[in-house]
């Protein structure tokens, strides 16, 4: 199993958040945010993780980084199981893994200057002296195409796109090899999104970064990812290369998701056939039995309620969790 190309291997990862009630805070249930998922991220690739709100994609990202501790399952980074690490050992590993957050307004401390924000990881991890750190901050600002003289300014003086660049500079300060991008562009205006995505791609080429790119925007995921995993209600329902996923989606949920995305072309939109899903996503505190998607699935049968479909490789590199995946194979 020790494939050298694999940087991150997630095995049977589970994250449940307990629901407490009453004055004794007795546990009465659990939100099954992530419920037994497995996937790998190869060195230097971008794995896109898509799904609708509440599907567990952000929880997955945070559990991978050990910002949430897993309920069960393992996360191997370079063949080291992060879920078993504690204290100083974990802190050392954390240098190699960083995160870029969704909200550039909430993820930067308003009372710290840009210089302090970017310098903080360097000082916390004792990798630079104060003087070296200042030089490094200037380099980092240049790297994300901000003026190096901005170090004494505060976050509120910047626009959303610029703040996101500050967040990127902070994430890169420790020269990580793995970055979780948690919806890094969804809070930005359309014309600014392209700027940030182009920057992320450029940095990846330059430093050989590996990305876990979490997003709900399928068109953007298609643009940036090498492989894509689709999540629904705490489970990964399909995982394959970008080309394959968009050409031959095998899970009914992926198919519906793809057909729901509007295409900015009125001629195509006029002739497009859409699969419109009925109803809403069920609550992750009380998910349907068997296949999670069966309550909204256009092709569900009785077996879907009885058994959970196995996440299986139906053709090389193409994983699907559906009993009827073969029906859609060419």
């Amino acid at each position: 199993m020790a494939d050298n190309n694999v940087l991150l291997r997630v095995e049977n990862l589970v994250k449940h958040f307990p629901i407490m009630r009453g004055i004794f805070q007795k546990q009465v249930g659990a939100v099954r945010a992530v419920d037994d998922i497995s996937f790998e991220v190869k060195r230097g690739e971008t794995l896109g993780l898509v799904g609708e709100s509440g599907c567990g994609k952000s929880t997955t990202g945070r559990t991978v980084l050990q910002l949430f501790r897993a309920t069960s399952g393992s996360v191997y980074y370079d063949n080291v199981d992060l879920t078993k690490l504690k204290g100083e050992e974990l802190r050392k590993m954390r240098r190699k893994m960083q995160m870029i957050f969704q909200d550039p307004y909430a993820s930067l401390n308003p009372r710290m200057t840009v210089g302090e924000i970017i310098r903080e990881p360097l000082l916390v991890h004792n990798v630079a002296t104060e003087a070296d750190a200042n030089d490094r901050v200037k380099q980092l600002l240049e790297l994300v195409r901000l003026n190096p003289s901005f170090t004494t300014r505060y976050p509120h003086e910047f626009s959303g796109g610029q703040r996101q660049r500050i967040g990127i500079a902070r994430a890169l300060a420790l020269q990580p090899s793995f970055v979780v991008c948690d919806e890094p562009i969804s809070a930005l205006d359309v014309s600014i999104q392209a700027q940030v995505v182009n920057l992320l791609e450029e940095l990846q080429d330059k430093f050989g970064l590996t990305y876990l790119f979490i997003a709900h925007d399928l068109s953007m995921v298609r643009h940036i990812s090498d492989r894509v995993a689709v999540m629904y209600l705490g489970v990964v329902v399909e995982l394959t290369t970008r080309e394959e996923l968009f050409k031959n989606p095998l899970h009914p949920y992926t198919q519906a998701l793809l057909s729901a995305v509007p295409i900015p072309d009125p001629v195509k939109e006029a002739t497009r056939k859409r699969t419109i899903l009925v109803g809403d996503v069920p609550s992750p505190a009380n998910p349907p039995s068997g296949c999670r998607f069966r309550t909204r699935c256009p092709i569900a049968e009785s077996i879907c309620a009885e058994q959970r479909p196995e996440f299986r490789e139906v053709k090389p590199g193409h994983f699907v969790a559906c009993f009827f995946a073969e029906r859609f194979m060419k």
Binding site: E52, V190, A194, E201, V261, P264, V267, I276
Partner: protein, 331 residues
């Protein structure tokens, strides 16, 4: 051409803020025909929402102020109406659906109460009539067990369901014009598809005109017949939807279309990014508002703000350099 349903002329709206006067809308003129769907596209702060709020008399004043302009609806100027007069039109002949369905519903009143209010107020229905009609409306927008749900509160509905309730409420008095301000932006794509589908169906059944405000060009492509693109408080381009996507002439529109990754093309193309940031609007620029970010900028652009001019049938653009843009834009 027939008399337009709505004709806005030279609308200017400003806001007084501690940092200075913000020129949010700077002379916007457009028309809307009966039964037509008009898409209004632009990024945050481009003035698209403020334009519509101004027309409906919903700008808080102060700090907001409608400096000049007119908005003729059935030959009457909405901007000159008294508070009582416009209240009769709002919700009855023109209604609005907002972006955030949680904050635009009253959390302490049942959905039934909120749905029956306009029916009793504008149409003078009795309580029983209004309740029957409210149940019908909920059914029309696809809410299961509509009658039972009238006594539920907004928090008992999901985001998509709440937006359906908002649409039911907006359509309750059979308006001639529905203004939808980013109604699907806060929702997931599968729910967004449900709602745009619903709106299309209702439009065909009820025949109302729609102004659909959004930043999402994809949604506009599937829904609108004509599109207005706004930037920095100005309309910078206006065209029928097919023409706009096939033949964008303003550098900003070209950039917007190019900056979108598309699901129907393989992803290797580098996205075209528009460098720089949108303007702050603290003063009305003497130059073209897009000049600081424009690839085609010429000296003239800094001396005079280009007017919105007809350059092809039904295609208006505000750019001095549009012939060059047409020649050089990436395809």
């Amino acid at each position: 051409m027939a008399e337009p349903l709505l004709e806005v002329q030279g609308l200017e709206t400003t806001f007084k803020t501690p940092d200075g006067i913000v020129h949010a809308v700077n002379g916007v003129s457009f028309q809307l025909q009966e039964g037509e769907t008009l898409g209004v596209v632009g990024e945050s702060g481009c003035g698209k929402s403020v334009t519509m709020l101004s027309i409906l008399g919903l700008i808080p004043s102060p700090p907001g102020k409608i400096v000049t302009g007119s908005a003729n609806f059935f030959g009457r100027d909405l901007l000159k109406m008294s508070v009582d007069e416009i209240r009769e039109i709002r919700g009855a002949q023109i209604s609005m659906v907002f972006q955030d369905p949680m904050t635009s519903l009253n959390p302490v009143l049942t959905v039934g109460r909120q749905l029956t209010e306009p029916l009793r107020l504008h149409l003078g229905m009795t309580k029983q009539q209004a309740e029957d009609r409210a149940a019908e409306l909920l059914e029309m927008v696809g809410i299961p067990k509509a009658k039972d749900r009238l006594s539920d509160f907004p928090h008992q509905f999901s985001g998509g369901m709440r937006q359906r309730v908002m649409i039911a409420m907006a359509l309750s008095c059979s308006p001639q014009l529905l203004i939808a301000d980013e109604p699907t932006t806060a929702l997931d794509v599968t729910i967004q598809a449900q709602l745009t589908d619903l709106i299309k169906r209702l439009r065909n059944e009820l025949g109302m005109a729609i102004i659909w405000i959004t930043h999402d060009l994809g949604v506009v492509a599937g829904l609108a017949q004509r599109v207005i693109v706004m930037y920095g408080g100005y309309i910078i381009e206006e065209a029928p939807v097919n023409e706009l996507f096939a033949n964008p002439l303003h550098p900003y529109t070209v950039g917007l279309i190019g900056s979108l990754p598309r699901l129907d093309e393989s992803g290797q193309r580098q996205l075209i990014s528009i460098e720089g940031v949108p303007p702050l609007l603290f003063e009305k620029p003497k130059h073209c508002p897009f000049a600081p970010r424009c690839k085609w900028v010429m000296e003239h652009c800094w001396n005079e703000n280009p007017p919105l001019e007809l350059v092809a049938p039904e295609h208006r653009v505000a750019c001095w350099a549009w012939p060059e843009v047409k020649k050089e834009r990436p395809r």
